[in-house]
């Protein structure tokens, strides 16, 4: 109890310094949480597009990005004929720009695609999709930022397209995207006879392993992955995740420097007090534990405030119309745990030198010189 009080007392003795350290950790944690959550939300959305009414995705082996993947129509035709497959839907991804929006994602799909069949149509009729090559269906947000209504003609990329429908979807990419008939998209993006991926719905999920083996044996340049597998292994996702954690980590590192500074000051300003503790039988380890306890307390309080601030920030971002569908505010317990753990590790790392210094304080010298 006295040990805890020694820790708390010292933090309260220099309130402003402690608050600044807590704020440093809190902002770092909030930044990390925000960046990681947004990115995971984005990854989740992208995965959601691929796993819409399907369990497996087939794409070109060894491509760095699905936009560069080419799956030939012949492969689609053969895979569709396999008895274990309920349906195989080709999707062609493309990116175009309009005058005000540098990036608009285009989805080249067939009328049978789950994204078209199962979507909530705000305007238009899904039976009209795919009738004409210049027809497009817009996501609700895409319609909003393109200022388009049903039956309008909108410039997208180098073409003018007829809006035959507007979809409402919770997925930010789809909501801000444009759906084209597959053949039109192939022509538009000069990828005739190919799609970026094929999403597969199996009759029996247990056949997934067999299906993947069949794809590997039949098509050496293609790879089949289950949705979860794809999310884990797709290099773009891994790069994004690593970037998010690295950016967050840098923030936390800065917070750690703040804690280190506070702890160094804390030790320097009470050398005599530490000497008194030594004279009264405190071991070097007990002194170190006290210093680490202080930094851990700062980090924990900072982490809690950071989580609260980060959550508020995420909720605020969710309300921004332009980010609709992009921000998933569901805080994953694993992410929270990792963030708290990182904050703790940062705090303890920041106290390493101060603790080592405190352990080396010689009581006899500290007591001799005021």
């Amino acid at each position: 109890m006295i040990f805890l009080k020694l820790i708390v007392t010292n933090l309260l003795r220099h309130r402003i310094r402690s608050i600044i350290s807590v704020a440093g950790i809190a902002f770092s944690v909030a930044a990390m949480l925000t960046v990681v959550t947004i990115l995971q939300g984005a990854i989740g959305m992208f995965s959601g597009i691929l796993s819409s009414d399907s369990e497996i995705i087939v794409f070109e082996r060894n491509v760095s990005d699905l936009f560069f993947s080419n799956v030939p129509a012949a492969a689609l035709e053969e895979i569709s004929s396999w008895p274990s497959v309920v349906h195989a839907d080709p999707v062609l991804f493309g990116v175009v720009s309009s005058s005000d929006h540098p990036i608009i994602t285009c989805f080249g799909v067939t009328a049978a695609d789950a994204r078209i069949r199962k979507a909530v149509w705000i305007a238009g009729d899904k039976l009209d999709f795919g009738q004409h090559s210049d027809d497009v269906v817009l996501g609700e947000r895409a319609a909003e930022f393109l200022g388009a209504k049903l039956d309008d003609h909108v410039p997208i990329g180098h073409g003018i397209f007829h809006v035959i429908g507007i979809l409402k979807t919770a997925n930010g990419f789809e909501d801000g995207g444009v759906f084209m008939p597959l053949s039109a998209a192939q022509s538009f993006f000069h990828k005739e006879g190919t799609s970026s991926v094929i999403t597969i719905k199996l009759r029996n999920k247990d056949d997934a392993a067999l299906f993947k083996t069949m794809v590997r044996e039949k098509f050496t340049n293609l790879i089949a992955l289950e949705d979860a597998e794809f999310t884990r292994s797709y290099s773009q996702f891994r790069i994004l995740k690593a970037t998010a954690w690295a950016v967050g980590g840098c923030g936390l590192l800065l917070g750690g420097f703040g804690v280190a500074n506070t702890m160094i000051m804390s030790v320097f300003t009470r050398i005599r007090e530490i000497a008194i503790l030594r004279v009264n039988g405190f071991s070097g380890l007990q002194i170190a534990v006290m210093i680490f306890g202080e930094s851990a307390a700062v980090s924990l309080v900072g982490a809690v405030f950071g989580l609260l601030t980060g959550s508020c920030l995420l909720y605020a971002l969710k309300l921004v119309p332009a980010l609709h569908g992009y921000v998933d505010v569901t805080l994953q317990p694993v992410v929270m745990l990792i963030v708290i753990l990182l904050a703790l590790i940062t705090g303890i790392a920041g106290a390493l030198y101060p603790a080592a210094y405190a352990m080396r304080i010689r009581a006899v010298e500290a007591l001799r010189f005021e």
Binding site: K5, I276, N280, F282, A363, L367
Partner: protein, 234 residues
């Protein structure tokens, strides 16, 4: 006093210095030059001498806070050096009282006194019993929950005395324990100090400038020029 003169060491000797040398600033300031003396269990010993003569240094050597360059310092028959369990020495064998009370101002009197018990891992109940006993003996019971800032100089020094005795050490090393107090408080604290060491059966070695107080101890040792002289009249 030299150990070589003894064929058998008196088991009652709790503190022993044998030809102890100590200097500072790489030998530029020589403080102890072959100090030798012994203290028998239960004695009260006053170390007198001018400032800088090495009184505090000698106390620090007995407490294991510093080590001699030459010679031996023993406490309870065991030499105090880097190989010795110094934590045990500080936690259970010796207690320190300084001229400045050296209490932690943000803690209460009781919490300050509990520090040595926390260091030694003594259970809370035993520690509480002990602090209440010592507080009663030093007349501080009504001040237990008070912060150090609220205490008078005499009360602070009495608190420091309680803290030093918390883990029942048999040796008390007091470095000018009344040096920061006025004459009246000084006398009162010293009376208490003598009373409590007698009650607890503690050996006291006290560095002091106050010859009046020193004269009330069992022995008076004069320190001059880095050596100890024991007046015959003491």
């Amino acid at each position: 006093m030299n150990s070589s003169a003894h064929t058998k060491i008196d088991p009652r000797i709790v503190l022993r210095a044998e030809d102890v040398w100590k200097s500072y600033d790489d030998g530029a300031i020589s403080v102890l030059k072959g100090v030798a003396f012994e203290v028998i269990e239960g004695q009260t010993v006053a170390l007198c001498g001018p400032s800088g003569c090495g009184k505090s240094t000698l106390l620090h050597l007995f407490g294991g806070l510093d080590f001699p360059e030459q010679g031996r310092v023993s406490v309870n028959g065991a030499e105090v050096n880097r190989r010795r369990n110094l934590l045990h020495l500080l936690r259970h064998e010796v207690g320190f009282v300084f001229q400045l009370h050296n209490l932690i101002p943000d803690l209460t009197l009781e919490e300050n006194c509990l520090i040595p018990t926390v260091a030694a891992g003594i259970d809370r109940r035993t520690a509480q019993t002990r602090i209440h006993l010592l507080a009663k003996r030093t007349g501080l019971t009504h001040r237990l929950g008070h912060r150090i800032q609220k205490l008078s100089g005499g009360e602070r020094q009495r608190t420091a005395l309680c803290r030093a005795l918390m883990n029942r050490p048999k040796i008390l090393l007091a470095d000018e324990p009344t040096g920061s107090l006025d004459e009246q408080s000084s006398g009162a604290v010293f009376d208490l100090l003598l009373e409590i060491v007698a009650t607890e059966g503690v050996t006291l070695v006290m560095a002091t400038h106050d010859r009046g107080l020193a004269a009330r101890c069992d022995r008076l040792l004069e320190m001059h020029d880095g050596r100890i002289h024991e007046p015959v009249s003491a």
